[in-house]
Amino acid sequence: MIDHILSILIFFPALAAMLGFIIHKDSIRAYGVAIATIEFALSLWLWFLFDSNVSGMQFMEQLPLVPSFGINYILGVDGISLFIVILASFFTMIGLASLTDTKNIKNMIITLLFLQMTMVGVFVALDAIVFYVFWELSLVPMLYIIGAWGGPLRIYASVKFFLYTFTGSLVMLVGMLFMAYYYYQATGTWSFAILEWYRLILPEAFQLWLFVAFFIGFAIKVPMFPFHTWLPYAHGQAPTIGSVILAAILLKMGTYAFIRFSLPMFPDASVFFMFPIAILAIIMIIYTAMVAYAQEDIKQVVAYSSVSHMGVIILGTFALNVEGITGSIFLMIAHGVVSGALFLLVGVIYDRRHTKMMSEFGGLAHVMPRYATIFGLMLMASVGMPLTINFVGEFLSLLGFYKQSHILTILAGTAIIVGAIYMLTAYKKMFFGNVTNEENRNLPDVSKRELLALIPLAIITVWLGIYPKPILVPINNSVASIVQLMHDKSTTEEAKKRIPNLVKGEDVKTLEKEAH
């Protein structure tokens, strides 16, 4: 069973979802929570079995799918993907547990379980086509969740979400086909296996445009600055559970794919595009923060702040050194926890008042003290206060990028600090002062079910903020091997200089050679 734990992790929820059609709709919630809990336990078990000292892939599985065209079902997990998988199963569980009464709850839970299959699949796939299958398939449940349970503009939002990502992914698909063709030219066999692609050293010209093809697919998913327009609609219209999963997991697919595909496969192109992308990321941080400040809807504030922090993740990724990439992966986890929690919190108040307008609220701290406390904690985490989970990731990401460019890093750091303004303003509008709206006077505080979801998130936020080591070590090991691979593979001078060489001995040797 251990040999196939990744397949079990992928297909267990899907199988459970299919069997879920049989279950009566009054009992389906218990079923969904049970399945998600089992899945979460399985993912924890995976962590337990995972050897933190190994930097490469573990629990590899391989099965030929279309061998004549080089498509194989290959799975594997390393320090980079392990925690995102756990995060995915964790958030599905939390989301299902805190699910409030919705219409067609059976369809919703079955859809969520299918969505879980695709999420886990994306992060453990090691074959480009298998990756693509799950990547695309994840759009369908999300389309349904937004389109069927969303707000008034839900159809527009869901179709926009789908078409935007679909178009980007198709361009990425062409890139993948080219990559496979180059591999075919070099070796004489077709292969879509990512680990085999890693070994392929491409000329810089090929790298550049392949990088762009992949970039379009990933950047739309993240979403990066010029491509972000679908996200506010999707978040604004999606039901709480949809926003939570979207922000916590689905957006991470894009940033994860950068680390899994773009960096190791195209090191020279990554260096070439480092500054343009960093500038885009900084624009993204500043611009979305400003837009967030102008919002009147608390959910939009959270949505734009979520985009803003994705910019820091991108910045850390394109630092192209161990600190930066480790930090960005850690920040993916942190961002998942924090923005997921914030969306849950917005959902809490929306369930009570059916509005998300900040002007409707005020003085909520008097009425709902526990709610205000948790919200405050998450908000502090979101703006990156030390001793919270986000701080670790943001600090490492910026530290990494500081080695590449001082000015840009200072700019980004300032932007993050200034970003605190809009969050604090939003908090002030909603929670402080007197209760201005009579309707708010008798709102019930957070219920037990909601606490069940929020307390674990709060604990994780503080715990990993104080002691991030259990997660950082495995991430660090895997990242180090990828950075080394990038250094070895890179062909241009610039890239050799920018991407650090981690093997100390070789540095000495080359120095000696130069000395002679």
């Binding site: 299958v133 369908v140 179709v159 361009v171």
Partner: protein
């Protein structure tokens, strides 16, 4: 004194005719039965047709065996040409027909199926298509083309609605024009080379190094126009949406698959050698045809209000997509064409059958055509299984992995990439993205809108019987689990294409 012509029966290799003769015998049998005893039920004719198609299928397996052992077989004065293309396309034709024929077993009575002639004509038509693909003689192609087309016009007209007659007449007129163009083209080639066999034409043209290129181009123009009509390439597509709308949904599904694969094979035989011998002009024209057909049909499909018309335009677009394989002209792209079409036939027959089981005999007042989008609003609430299956077919048509058509698209785009048609690959990809919108539109209606007043969901399956449901289930399973069959299928197709020299 003239020597008596002595032909030994053995040298004729009559076995090559067997797959075509079987449906002809079946058709005659149906007619004979009808003479002796009229008024028999349609179930009898459905089963007889199925049986003969099964026999046809086993004859094909036979010739596939012969081909994989001994290569291409010629027969009947070297008119018949049984190569990999012929066998593969006949497989598609016969299997798609076997899936189509049980669709006659509807719950409601429809006019056309009460005539035994319907089934006889159907089998004649199959034989016509089989002749068309199993020869490289332009005259026999013409005979097959006309046999099948004339039968098809009648089958469309037998649906017996005002729009059906309009459709049949339109189809007939356009088809006659196409036939005219075809014979003109064939005449030019005959005048140039003194032969009506494509490989002879190729040899003669190559021998004099395309000295008469102007005449070749004239011939090609006529041929292109003719196949443009048959394959509904833009701008020769205008008949397609109207004919699809007028024909019954099952017949429309059939028309989107079987006649086209036959035309594709002939186009492949004819255009491939011209492209490979460097007729640049043809390459450019085909390129334009492919791009315009894909894109324009997609854009028209966006604005349709009727699902059937949308599917008609989408079929046009898919035909353009696949035409790219002929333009690319490598072994991989030709294999991709067949792979795509096999997967497409499952999905498309499935989606047209879904329309077919929801066919009402009398339209309610608020509904302007048979299958408006409104009719499917909120379908998931009243008949969730049917809605899910329809959604599945739509996702497959849009090319969402891992459903059937995605793999066809993947392989076809990969063949474009491999052959160096980068821009074409991107155009194909962008068209897939555009087409996502209109397939999604139906999903949006089915899953995200509220049902219309007074719609209790009965309408979606009003026409369903076990036979129809099994066909749809079969198509759905084929659509979902295509990836399992992919590898053997791909190896089989590639071997056959490669050994036929394409």
């Amino acid at each position: 004194m003239i020597e008596p012509v002595n032909v030994s029966l053995g040298s004729l290799n009559l076995i090559t005719l067997a797959p075509m003769l079987i449906p002809i015998i079946g058709a005659l049998l149906i007619l004979v039965i009808d003479i002796f005893k009229g008024g028999l039920d349609k179930t009898l004719f459905v089963v007889i047709s199925l049986l003969f198609l099964l026999m046809d299928f086993s004859a094909l397996i036979d010739s596939a065996g012969i081909f994989s052992q001994g290569g291409t077989v010629m027969g009947v004065f070297n008119v018949m040409l049984i190569d990999g293309l012929a066998i593969l396309s006949q497989f598609i034709i016969v299997v798609a027909s076997m899936l189509f024929i049980p669709l006659a077993l509807t719950h409601k009575r429809f006019h056309e199926f009460s005539y035994p002639e319907f089934f006889a004509l159907f089998l004649f038509m199959i034989a016509g298509f089989q002749f068309m693909v199993a020869t490289d003689n332009l005259i026999l192609v013409f005979v097959g083309l006309e046999t099948s087309s004339l039968a098809l016009y009648t089958l469309v007209a037998m649906h017996n609605r005002d729009k059906s007659f309009e459709a049949a007449v339109k189809y007939f007129t356009m088809g006659a024009l196409a036939a005219g163009f075809y014979s003109f083209g064939a005449m030019v080639f005959y005048a140039l080379t003194g032969s009506v066999e494509i490989n002879q034409i190729a040899t003669v043209l190559a021998a004099n190094k395309y000295a008469d290129i102007a005449y070749v181009l004239i011939g090609v123009v006529f041929m292109l126009a003719s196949f443009g009509f048959k394959l509904s390439l833009v701008p020769f597509h205008t008949w397609a949406p109207d004919v699809y709308e007028g024909a019954s949904a099952s017949m429309a599904g059939f028309m989107s698959i079987v006649p086209k694969i036959a035309a594709f094979v002939v186009a492949m035989r004819l255009f491939e050698f011209l492209i490979h011998s460097g007729v640049v002009w043809l390459e450019i024209v085909l390129y334009i045809f492919v791009v315009v057909t894909m894109t324009a049909a997609n854009i028209w499909a966006l604005v349709q209000t009727d699902v059937k018309r949308m599917l008609a335009y989408s079929s046009v677009s898919h035909a353009g997509f696949v035409m790219a394989a002929i333009l690319i002209g490598t072994t991989q792209s030709n294999s991709a064409l067949f792979l795509y079409w096999i997967l497409f036939s499952f999905t498309n027959l499935g989606s047209f059958s879904m329309l077919w089981i929801s066919r009402q005999k009398h339209l309610p007042e608020h509904q302007r055509s048979d299958h408006t989008y409104d009719k499917f609003a909120g379908m998931v609430q009243t008949s969730p299984v049917a809605a899910s299956i329809m959604g599945l077919f739509m996702l497959s048509l849009a090319g969402i992995p891992p459903f059937a058509l995605f793999w066809g698209k993947l392989y076809l785009i990969s063949s474009a990439v491999t052959a160096g048609y980068t821009i074409l690959a991107f155009i194909m990809v962008l068209n897939s993205a555009i087409s996502g919108y209109y397939y999604l539109k139906l999903i949006v209606y089915m899953f995200m809108k509220e049902p219309l007043m007074g719609n209790d969901g009965h309408v979606y399956v009003s026409n369903a019987t076990t036979a129809l449901k099994s066909i749809i289930g079969f198509a759905a399973i084929g659509t979902i689990f295509a990836f399992i069959a992919l590898n053997p299928l791909l190896e089989f197709i590639t071997a056959f294409i490669y050994n036929s020299g394409y």
